[in-house]
Amino acid sequence: MSSETNKILTTDGIPLEESLKKAERKNKIKAFLLVCPLLLFLIITYVFPIGEMFTRSIDDKMITNMLPNTFKSMESWDGQDMPEESVFENFYIDFKKLVENKEHGKLAQRLNKEKNGFNTILKKLFRQIQRNKIDESGSFKEQITSLHKRFNNVEYWRAIKRTAPPYTMAKYLKGMDLFIDENGGIAQVEEDRRIHRILWLRTLEIAFFVTVFCFLMGYPIAHLLATLPMKYSNLLMICVLLPFWTSLLVRTASWMILLQQQGIVNDFFVMIGLVSDDNRPEMMYNKVGTYVAMTQILLPFMVLPLYSVMKTISPSLMRAGKSLGGTPFVAFWKVYFPLTIPGIGAGCLLVFILAIGYYITPALVGGASGTLISNQIAYHMKTTLDWSFASAMGLMLLTGVLVVYWIYNKLVGVDNIKLG
């Protein structure tokens, strides 16, 4: 029996299966065209910039092309003692060419990022070349090393050698206080410069505790909002949202006025005799200040998803739990709480992700502990112009957020997020 005879045909004589496919294809194209604007928007605003950030963070071709001869002659150098004459000669040739093309400044910038101190010594060399002070028949090693003591420091030549590969993971390593040493192994930076790991941990710690505090404070508020009669809950809702409509800086500044040692809260404590005047507690310019200000600022992001979930939970469920013999607590824990988990998940993720990128508030109220990883990213974006390092740290932060999301997915399940 052949399959031909079994095919069901439409009235036009086309097999039904094909006709159906055709109609479905049309629908698919229509559906695709509908989401096209959104897709395009996502590509332009997310995929493309993130891709750009990634290439920026690993691309190091500029310097590879600037010092081709130097890198070639450095291949045979083991990085232990000072390099040989040929390295100096080739470095001079490369550098002179850059001076002719007026690109020496870019090289100085790039190398200063690799090791601080290059700016000055390369400018010195530049001035010598400009005034024709370098005798091209003499020893380049002698002449260059006599310009500045840093040229005589093997560390600086090692730094040049490190920049040879056109693509590098060095910026990611730097973000974790590591670097590639002269043997190609991974080593730690000097102890008094290990700052990034401290900042990562501090950022995570602050984001974590702010999330916990937001949850502890937001849950009862959301519950109250969801169970009060409409006319009260609306008023309360406005109270929750009001700070949301006030500028971030204004809110931060108000906390400073309230919490500082000579501030209103401390004045009140002294007035009621809780603390003595010369022993006022410090609630500002330390982590306490950061927690208080950030919790207040981010609280609405916790309350709103919780509220929208709690609103949908029927009060009869709790009554049923109690009538089946549970104490109020058991009824709450076994019936009500599990139903609010989608809201908790959404609120916690929102608050955590927002908190991890905060930097103005902590810088203002956090005192010595007010520097977070985002401050470092802003610093490299704006001041040092080391955009590749800033990109690398930005991507590391993004990865961190994705990992949190992944853990959350494993523990609770993404389907269990409810934003509203």
Binding site: K106, Q109, N116, D192, R193, I198, G370, K382, T383, L385
Partner: protein, 371 residues
């Protein structure tokens, strides 16, 4: 990828270009400072040259102009920048190089421009605008006695109480060494010589650490310029480093009981840089030359207590005291470059910070983390 970036960025900048095609656009810091620039020399220059000068606010750094340049659509003609930004921007080829005596007019007495500047330019791409001071102030209602020197700032036995210092290493390391007994020397060169060595950096960090961990002392780190006077007036700290213009405003404008101390002050600068390939480069160059002449620069000191970069501008102020806009406050004693205020000072060294800023910043943060 690169081409695509350019396209997107160019598109986004295209609109803003068309609106400002015939005006000279100056990017500056905003607030009272830009107000002083606009009233002091911006508007008079615009009127004289018959061109329009637009002032836009930005928050410092070269990231925005670099992005504009990479997109191939530059919208700013002149930028008000820090010294190390002019160095970086010059190196990256963002700014126009000047021939100072040719591009800028001489002083009224004939002194060529390059000799009339208070300090030499950090790069060929910068022309001086103002000098401001990192000095310190105290609240006379909260301090017993009169702090007079930079050593007093660190002397918690004589003047107990918390201090407010800037959040980054910049100028803190310098004043620490000055207070620790290093004579600044000419323009502070001895301080920077000491900071070139590991030992010197350690010595400065230890001095700050001792102040911050002292139970009689303690530190508050400020990050916004408005904070120091505020912290002093609320009594949160007894002494605070800060920018002299802010202290002046608090004292003269609001009648705050603050006193400024000039001993061991750090003089820092603001510059104008001309953007290479800006939308209106020719007019911008003309405007810049006029805005930075003797008369015009003196004009800005009518509105703010920052010193004009040209020495000859001070004569204009001296002759016409009281110079401040209220018509009764003398401006010379408030000028960071006035002879009485520069008995013991250092010039913030942009080369040192351009070279070592990142590394010292990391060490500074590590030190702060251990407080």
């Amino acid at each position: 990828m690169k081409k695509l970036t350019k396209l997107f960025l160019a598109l986004s900048f295209a609109l803003s270009i068309t609106t400002s095609a015939f005006a000279v656009t100056v990017a500056s810091w905003g607030g009272a400072y830009t107000e002083s620039q606009k009233l002091g020399y911006g508007d008079p220059t615009a009127a004289k040259l018959g061109i329009e000068i637009n002032w836009v606010d930005y928050s410092g750094g070269l990231s925005e102009i670099k992005a504009q340049k990479e997109a191939g659509a530059i919208t700013w003609d002149i930028i008000d920048v820090f010294a190390f930004d002019t160095i970086n921007g010059c190196d990256e080829g963002i700014f126009v190089e000047f021939d100072f005596d040719k591009d800028f007019p001489a002083a009224p007495d004939g002194t060529p421009a390059s000799k009339d500047f208070f300090a030499p330019m950090p790069s060929k791409c910068a022309v001086g605008n103002i000098l401001y001071s990192w000095n310190y102030a105290y609240n006379k209602n909260n301090v017993k006695g009169t702090p007079k020197t930079i050593k007093d700032f660190f002397n918690t036995k004589k003047f107990p109480g918390k201090r407010a210092i800037y959040k980054s290493a910049l100028t803190n390391l310098e004043i620490a060494l000055a207070a620790d007994g290093i004579k600044p020397g000419k323009g502070g060169e001895k301080i920077y010589k000491a900071l070139e060595t590991e030992k010197g950096v350690q010595r400065a960090m230890d001095k700050i650490k001792a102040l911050c961990t002292d139970p009689q002392g303690g530190c508050v780190f400020w990050s916004a310029g408005a904070q120091p006077p505020e912290l002093l007036m609320s009594g949160e700290v007894v002494m605070a480093t800060g920018w002299n213009g802010r202290f002046f405003n608090a004292i003269v404008g609001e009648g705050a009981p603050l006193v400024q101390v000039w001993d061991g002050q750090g003089l820092d600068y603001e510059y104008f840089a001309l953007v290479k390939g800006g939308p209106n480069e020719a007019d911008a160059k003309k405007a810049l030359a006029m805005m930075t002449n003797t008369e015009m620069l003196a004009g800005s000191a009518k509105y703010i207590a920052y010193a004009p970069y040209r020495i000859s501008s001070l004569d204009v102020i001296k002759k016409n005291e009281p110079w401040y806009k209220d018509g009764k406050t003398e401006m010379m004693p408030a000028m960071p470059t006035a002879p009485d205020n520069t008995k013991n000072y250092f010039l913030v060294d942009p080369f040192f910070w351009a070279d070592n800023g990142t590394e010292l910043g990391e060490k500074w943060e590590a030190m702060k983390a251990g407080l």
